[in-house]
């Protein structure tokens, strides 16, 4: 069982890498989509337009295989544009059925841009699909294969009814435009990723292997720490609904599985940060939970853990993986790229704090560089 988990988690990691190649600063989103898919939950991405949200979701979907459905909602979007038109043949026979072929109810991975612009009819039908994986409309009742729905919006809605809909997305991720110092990398990477199609590296079976193992994950050891974290958040004035608190356990279990373990520990607490609904509560929560997050790490979801916890050990995993990737290449990357990685290693660790595997990789990278003297 454990070997199977390890293999599925490692293959998913490869797929995340392939999907985000060239998309600067978007690994976190790809990793959280995977986390949500394993937990059978949904993710809401909030950020300005043009921040490569749809590109990442599309590429993750391509690398995982499965049926993908994407739609940009507007105020005048009709339910039939998402769920399918009325089946006219059946209508003549006197029943109102929807022809869902190729539409959202049949998709494994769904991306809905500007999700809060959907009409009440659309959002109500979506609730059933998101919560119960069941599409109901007229006489049509279909069990949906949906693994994960990614919703995107420019901001969180003020309207209470819409906010309640937004609350059904357990993970909230706030994305920003790429920072100034990464603009060159974004331009080069964006150019490359447009030229290169994503290979399908997985079937949905790896995802299903992990999802099915969810019920076997032992959360006994992590519950006291989770309760402690919730108490700390409440003391700091950050309230979470009981539903979100209970459901956060699914993400913690999924994080353990993606780390190749059937027993969750304090290392898997970090997804709790993404359960906090607003950007302010996430920023505040990161400070409040800093010491509880100290043990956080994941051997396959580096960026998501690093961003949640800002801990050096999660940064270590990402730096080590990048170093190993550079060292494994038959043609090493350009000196400027190697120097960039060495600069980041040295800015984060000194000889006393540098973990042994990274120290070795650093030595090898140094030798790859043509000596300046």
């Amino acid at each position: 069982m454990i070997a199977q988990l390890h293999s599925a988690a490692a293959q998913i990691r490869q797929a995340v890498r392939a999907a985000t190649e060239g998309l600067v600063g978007r690994e976190q989103l790809a990793e959280l989509i995977v986390l949500a898919a394993v937990a059978q939950e949904h993710i809401l991405v909030i950020g300005p337009p043009g921040t490569a949200k749809s590109a990442v979701v599309r590429r993750v979907a391509q690398s995982m295989g499965g049926r993908y459905f994407e739609y940009l909602l507007g105020r005048f979007t009709e339910p039939s544009e998402l769920f399918g038109a009325v089946d006219l043949k059946k209508l003549r026979e006197g029943t109102v059925e929807t022809d869902v072929s190729g539409m959202l109810p049949e998709a494994d991975i769904v991306f809905l841009d500007e999700v809060f612009l959907g009409s009440t009819a659309i959002l109500n039908t979506l609730l059933g699909v998101l919560n119960e994986r069941r599409f109901r409309r007229g006489h049509t009742q279909v069990q949906c294969p949906l693994r994960v729905c990614v919703g995107a919006a420019n901001g969180l809605p003020d309207d209470e009814a819409l906010a309640a809909f937004g609350d059904r997305f357990l993970l909230h991720l706030f994305v920003e435009s790429v920072p100034d110092n990464q603009l060159e990398a974004m331009l080069a990477g964006g150019w490359q990723s447009e030229q290169r199609p994503v290979q399908q590296l997985l079937g949905l079976t790896q995802l299903d292997t992990l999802s099915q193992a969810m019920k076997s994950v032992d959360l006994g050891n992590v519950r006291p720490a989770l309760a402690q974290a919730i108490r700390r958040l409440r003391e700091a004035g950050i309230q979470l609904s009981d539903r979100r608190i209970v459901k956060s356990q699914r993400l913690i279990a999924a994080a353990a599985l993606l780390g190749g373990r059937l027993e969750a520990s304090e290392a898997d607490l970090w997804p709790l940060l993404y359960v906090l609904p607003t950007q302010e509560t996430q920023q505040h929560g990161r400070e409040v939970l800093r010491d509880l997050f100290a043990a956080s790490s994941n051997s396959h979801l580096f960026s998501a853990v690093e961003e949640a916890t800002l801990q050096p050990m999660s940064r270590f995993n990402r730096l080590l993986e990048t170093a190993e990737d550079y060292l494994a290449r038959s043609e090493p990357p350009a000196s400027a790229v190697l120097e960039g990685l060495l600069r980041e290693i040295d800015a984060n660790f000194d000889s006393q704090t540098l973990p042994e595997p990274l120290q070795q990789a650093r030595g090898q990278l140094t030798r790859l560089l043509t000596p300046a003297e």
Binding site: N181, P312, R343, A347, A372
Partner: protein
């Protein structure tokens, strides 16, 4: 470290700052100097340098900063303009107060406060990196070496 009336100490940062200066001492300073001589002119034009005895400090955007073995990095304090600190270390006293105390004492700004060795380096005479500036630094070091 207690250059001021109130003693204070360094604590390691949970979240290292984004490097905006490369700082090299001794042999590493010589290596950094040689590395600077090899970088493209357009990149050099985005960097500024100052040398002070045994240390070479190069400031610029993170992506432009050179790397050599044993180089360390620094960044300006987020809450004390004019106070530069190592990326991995922070003072255990409020940075704005430390910045004010140091600027009153040293009368120059900005100041780079270093942990090992414990020194304060003024950064008010940074010059854009060019072959001439590098030559002047080499000559300065050579003269110091000859008189040492």
């Amino acid at each position: 470290m207690s250059a001021l009336a109130q003693p204070w100490a360094w604590r390691s940062r949970q979240v290292p700052a984004e490097p905006q200066a490369a700082v090299a001492w001794g042999d590493a300073a010589r290596r950094l100097h040689r590395r600077l001589a090899l970088i493209p002119a357009e990149q050099a034009a985005r960097l500024q340098a100052t040398a002070n005895g045994d240390v070479l400090v190069v400031t610029g955007m993170t992506a432009d900063l050179p790397w050599v073995d044993a180089v360390a990095y620094a960044a300006p304090s987020a809450c004390a303009p004019g106070l530069w600190l190592p990326t991995r270390w922070a003072p255990d006293v409020p940075e704005d107060l430390l910045g004010q105390a140091l600027s009153a004492r040293f009368k120059r700004l900005p100041l780079l406060v270093w942990r090992e060795p414990q020194v304060v380096i003024p950064l008010d005479r940074l010059q854009t990196v060019s072959p001439e500036v590098l030559q002047r630094i080499a000559t300065y070091w050579g003269a110091r070496h000859a008189t040492a």
